[in-house]
Assembly symmetry: C2
Homo-oligomer: 201 residues x 2
C-alpha cells in the first residue's frame, strides 16, 4: 500500500473516530437497563446467556429464570449451574406448551415462576436477571404484561434485566431501553440438519 | 377456565406438536454447522459467547478468536479465560480500526490472527470455534472472503464455526447453514445511557 493510500485511510478513520468519541461523550447516564431480544431468528437465548457470561466476568451476581424448558437437558443449564455462588439458576415449566397440552397447569407454572422473579426484582444484590422465553408466556396470555412492566419499573436502579422470546409485547418494547429483533435469514434445520449440541442445545 | 376451553387448547396444541414433531423427524443430518450472526443490532457477539457456554456445558472444546478488541477489558474475556483447559482464548487487534488509524498494521494483525484460526480449522479436537467480528475484517478488505470460505470447506466435518460482525459478506451468507440478522429496534446508547458492564462490556 502506498503512503498516500494509508494517509487517506488515516484521515477517514480519524473522522470516524471523532464521530464515535462524540457519541460516547454524550452517553453519560449510568443505570440498569432492560434489554429485549425478540424475533424468529436464532440467537435470542444464547445472546442472553452471553451477557450472563459477561456479567460474571465483571464479578456481578446473576439470576436466570428459564420459563420454558425443552424435553432435553441444555448445555447452558449444565454450564451455568457450575457457579452456584454467582448464578441463581431456575428452570420452570415442563416442556414447551404444545408438549404439555394443559393450559391450566401452564398458567399455574408461569405464575409460580413469576413469584420467584418478583423476589429477584426486589433484590439489589442481584445485578443482572435473565428471563428466558418470558415473551412466550405473556404472548400466550399466561401472565399479564402490565404486571411485568410494573415490577420492572420498581426494581433497583442499577439492575439489568434481559427478556427473550419471539413475539415481544409492544408495551414491553416501548418500555425497554434496548431492543433487538433477531431475523431468521436461514436455518440449518430447514436444510434437514438436526439441532446440534453446543449451538442449539 | 372451563373444561371446554382447556380441551380446545389441548387440541390446538396437539396439532402444533404434530407439526413440530414432523419437522424434527425430517431433520436427521448431523454435522458441524457454520452460523453467521450479523446486522447492526445488539447481541451478535453475546450470542456467540452464549453458544460457547452451551458447548462447554456439553464438555466440548472451544476456541475463541476476537478479531477486534475495544480499548477496555471485556467481561467475556475475563470470564472465559477462567477455563484454560476448555477454551483457547485469543484476542487480536489493538482497538477498533478507527482507533489505530494505520491500515497496514491492521492488515498484518488480521493476517496473523487468521493464521491462528487456520490451525484451529484443521484440528478435529476443537468442537466449536467463535470468530468474533471476523465480518468487519473481511468487509474492510483485510482478508479475502474466498480464503475464509476455502478454509471452512476443508474443516473437520463435525466442527461448528460461529462468525459474528455487521456487514457479513454475501458469499459467506450463501455458504453458511444458519444466518441471523440482528436488527436494531432501539438502543439505550441513543437515549444517552453509557455502555454498561455486564451487558455491553
Amino acid at each position: 500500500m502506498t503512503d498516500k493510500m494509508n494517509s487517506k485511510h488515516r484521515d477517514r478513520m480519524k473522522r470516524q473516530k471523532a464521530v464515535v468519541d462524540a457519541g460516547i461523550e454524550k452517553a453519560t447516564e449510568e443505570r440498569g437497563i432492560v434489554i429485549v431480544l425478540t424475533g424468529n431468528g436464532k440467537g435470542k437465548s444464547s445472546s442472553g446467556f452471553g451477557m450472563v457470561a459477561r456479567a460474571l466476568g465483571h464479578g456481578m451476581k446473576v439470576a436466570v429464570v428459564q420459563f420454558i424448558k425443552g424435553s432435553f437437558s441444555t448445555g447452558e443449564e449444565a454450564f451455568f449451574r457450575r457457579f452456584p455462588g454467582e448464578v441463581e439458576y431456575h428452570v420452570m415449566g415442563e416442556g414447551f406448551t404444545w408438549e404439555t397440552q394443559d393450559k391450566s397447569r401452564d398458567i399455574a407454572t408461569a405464575r409460580k415462576a413469576w413469584e420467584l422473579v418478583l423476589g429477584f426484582l426486589q433484590d439489589a444484590g442481584i445485578d443482572l436477571i435473565l428471563l428466558d422465553e418470558l415473551n412466550i408466556v405473556t404472548k400466550l396470555g399466561y401472565l399479564p404484561i402490565e404486571e411485568v412492566i410494573e415490577a420492572l419499573k420498581t426494581r433497583p436502579p442499577m439492575q439489568h434485566v434481559i427478556i427473550t422470546g419471539r413475539g415481544a409485547d409492544k408495551t414491553l418494547i416501548d418500555y425497554a431501553d434496548t431492543v433487538t429483533e433477531m431475523r431468521d435469514i436461514k436455518h440449518a434445520y430447514r436444510a434437514g440438519i438436526k439441532a446440534q449440541k453446543g449451538v442449539e442445545l
